[in-house]
Symmetry: C2
Subunit: 109 residues, 2 copies
């Protein structure tokens, strides 16, 4: 049940996806992912991914002070990020289909 290994290489995609329609800060992205069904994701993984994607130039970032707690570092998709999202999503779908083909092969035997 090591879901963590399935996440590898896909967390980027998931994070980009939940930021597609609205900017979000780390803790919020974490909640969106968990709310979306990826319950097991660790907080450090999300923060790490956000920093990595930002460093890679896919995200813009700005800090907003909050009334109800510490400051929040918001992230949002820029053009590169949107292109990356499309690209990664396609790669994912193609790969999923390939694997599905392998899984089905001979299953009727």
């Amino acid at each position: 049940m090591d879901t963590s290994q399935l996440l590898k290489g896909v967390l980027d995609l998931a994070v980009l996806a939940v930021l597609r329609d609205e900017d979000g800060y780390g803790y919020d992205v974490l909640r969106r992912l968990r709310g979306g069904g990826i319950e097991e994701v660790g907080d450090a993984s999300v923060y790490g991914t956000l920093r990595r994607l930002y460093k890679a130039g896919y995200l813009s970032s700005y800090v907003v002070p909050s009334d109800e707690g510490p400051h929040r570092k918001y992230y949002g998709l820029n053009d590169l990020g949107r292109a990356r999202l499309v690209e990664t999503e396609q790669a994912w779908r193609a790969f999923a289909e390939t694997l599905d083909g392998i899984l089905r092969k001979g299953k009727a035997a």
Copy 2:
């Protein structure tokens, strides 16, 4: 296009799947995977995965001398391996569906 990261945690599943109907040796498993569409997989990854799965108790193994080359180390699924295959496949499908849900969310907006 870093497909290698998508492979993480899924190569186990793919290897178990191609061994489902027939035992195979490393080099052969490699060809089955590539033939199945995972072209980019490295040989060392496959050999490593086979060893890992064997060590974990999912595979049985026997060596067969070959007329046309070096000996071949065959691997086959045992009961634990078959159970693992079912389990991993379910985990994969569930996860793929979850991710799909996240990708679709808000896409109509």
